[in-house]
Symmetry: C2
Subunit: 373 residues, 2 copies
């Protein structure tokens, strides 16, 4: 039988992966040297030992243990991204771009989903435990939950220890945030709405303490008001920025007889002539709900969305909406999180809540769901 002094002599089921020591031994150099050629940045090793190490490494199929490296150098190779629902196209798009942007800089991203404030707080706690380079929070609801204070403390602590927290579309907490011009976009779409001849909208908003929703709503309401349109409060509903809840909200209105002309109908019996959804998925849910009630969206009732998720072009009628640069948002968040600590200057850091506007004037995407009438 062959003799070998390699590791793992015993008949092994799970032979543990090769370690740096193994490589060093096989290459006949010190572990330090091995480390230098395999991982160290500025290599200053003689060429022949370099080769020997490399050979040993490939032969042993060596893969550095990322965790051990992280522990040793005290800095992790990853960032974490928190979203409330990856299957939501909006978050999916943001996630995609975050992962891509991070990947280009060689850092991996751990995605966590946290559907509510409690879960979010817990996720943050767990995330902090991995000492990531940064934490990007793309959560949108529950901002003012009681957990908020706790969350802020946790993140502040995290920052104090050298971490970087960034929010996406949320400026309620004193941390850097990537944001877009919600109100500007809202005004633009509302103006289009008015100009197109609509006067009796149902409105699907998000939670009132949800900043994006609030800003968008403010923009819309202001333009509407100035155009002499008073929105019937009975057809303003909280769709929680979710497709399902948006759908449900419209169904509810239909059941109450608010939508189609008639006795109980909104706007003094005239019913609605449109749905203004403060994000796309609610708008899409609304379309389906309208159809379920025999109302043809885009013909009898106009629809607007907000966000321009990929699928807004594929629904029918295709959704007229406000374009949000989803990909750029993710990129910006990653840049912010990975930026050199010293770079931004004490001023910004001190401010704490630096704002990164990805775009100053959101474009509106004119499609079919809001025909001129």
């Amino acid at each position: 039988m062959a003799q070998h002094t390699d590791k793992d002599d015993r008949a092994d089921k799970p032979s543990s992966p090769a370690t740096l020591m193994d490589v060093a031994a096989k290459a006949g150099v010190s572990i330090a040297t091995a480390s230098r050629v395999l991982n160290g940045s500025t290599r200053k090793v003689r060429n022949d030992s370099y080769v020997k190490v490399m050979e040993a490494a490939t032969k042993l199929n060596y893969r550095p243990n990322a965790y051990a490296q992280a522990v040793a150098k005290g800095t992790a190779p990853n960032i974490v991204l928190l979203v409330s629902d990856i299957s939501d196209p909006y978050f999916a798009s943001v996630s995609q771009s975050v992962v891509k942007a991070a990947g280009e800089q060689g850092v991996s991203v751990t995605i966590g989903v946290a559907a509510n404030a409690k879960a979010e707080l817990e996720s943050v706690r767990k995330s902090v435990a991995t000492r990531p380079r940064g934490i990007i929070i793309s959560e949108s609801e529950y901002i003012d939950a009681p957990e908020r204070a706790e969350l802020e403390r946790e993140l502040r602590q995290y920052e104090a220890s050298g971490g970087r927290a960034v929010f996406i579309l949320n400026r309620n907490l004193p941390f850097p945030a990537v944001d877009v011009a919600n109100e500007v976009g809202a005004r633009a779409i509302a103006k289009l709405f008015v100009d197109s001849g609509y006067t009796r909208p149902a409105i699907l908003k998000g939670d009132d303490n949800h900043r994006s929703s609030k800003e968008r709503l403010a923009g819309v309401m202001d333009v509407l008001g100035k155009a002499g349109i008073t929105v019937d409060p009975r057809v303003i509903a909280n769709g929680r920025f979710s497709r399902t809840e948006g759908y449900a909200a419209i169904m509810q209105m239909a059941r109450a007889g608010l939508l189609a002309p008639g006795g109980d109908a909104a706007y003094d019996g005239a019913g609605i002539d449109s749905v203004i959804a403060l994000n796309d998925v609610m708008g899409i849910g609304a379309m389906t709900a309208l159809r379920a009630n025999g109302i043809e969206p885009g013909r009898e009732v106009g629809i607007t969305g907000f966000g321009d998720i990929p699928y807004s072009a594929d629904v029918h009628p295709s959704l007229t909406t406000v374009h949000l640069p989803l990909a750029e948002i993710g990129q910006a968040a990653v840049d912010c999180v990975l930026a050199d600590r010293d770079d931004a200057g004490a001023a910004d850091s001190a401010a704490g809540n630096r704002l990164i506007f990805v775009q100053s004037a959101p474009d509106i995407v004119l499609r079919e769901s809001l025909p001129r009438r």
Copy 2:
């Protein structure tokens, strides 16, 4: 000025987070004890020292260093999931369920996107470096690329060192895989197709070496053939399971005059009466493409999808498709990856390519895109 012997005496910008040692010191116990109450599973510590440690921990805002723990106990608290595109609703759904299922077991998931074989291989290499509990690969294309052998080696090595690799919807490599009854589903939808009176389909498939695509195609073709339908080869296209390419493929056919009746049209000038898409996003892309060419999907041309992604219910006409239990697939993959190594028995492990069927008879979801004619 207050004197304290706590850590970090110097005026500190980034005061490093509290360590277990700090907590132990402040609580006046040994680091071992502190470890036991803070992390150790079966705690056997006196109550008062338990309290002291807890107090110290909260006061110091202690968070265990997950990496250090991982290194020390030689096992990581996470799994990695590889997909080719999170913004694709199919992958998004799978990801969502994987994250959820993993979360319930206290393990976090690192998501990587790898759009092609090379990126995938690299991702796997990087993943292995973090010694995760398992790797779930939900990639679907490029299965037979030259990197395949490399990938297999890498994963085999990973398994040998105690890791667990699982594929989703892919059984081309000798690893455990979660799969569904593609062919059964395909036969079902094809039968519905025939029974509904369609005879001249365009077909949108995926790569030929993509297993799911192949199986679905086989099922469809067989049923069609037996019904006496011969598919015009000019209207079979590779949409690569992507919305964009599906869209492009139909546009291409339209440009070639294949779709609408006429001289160049498929099926001896009769044109197509339907599109069979082997997954939903291609079906949805096809609808939009048809509309762009003045053809009303669901009226002039019937459409079928495969997968039942959330948005297939929201497009119009809503997509008749084969329901795939996306959530269960993710759950199954996680279960498999997290299963006790000894549990499954040597038999399964030896086989290497254990199959987990999530569902034996895929339901077909009857909606509006394939009306009887």
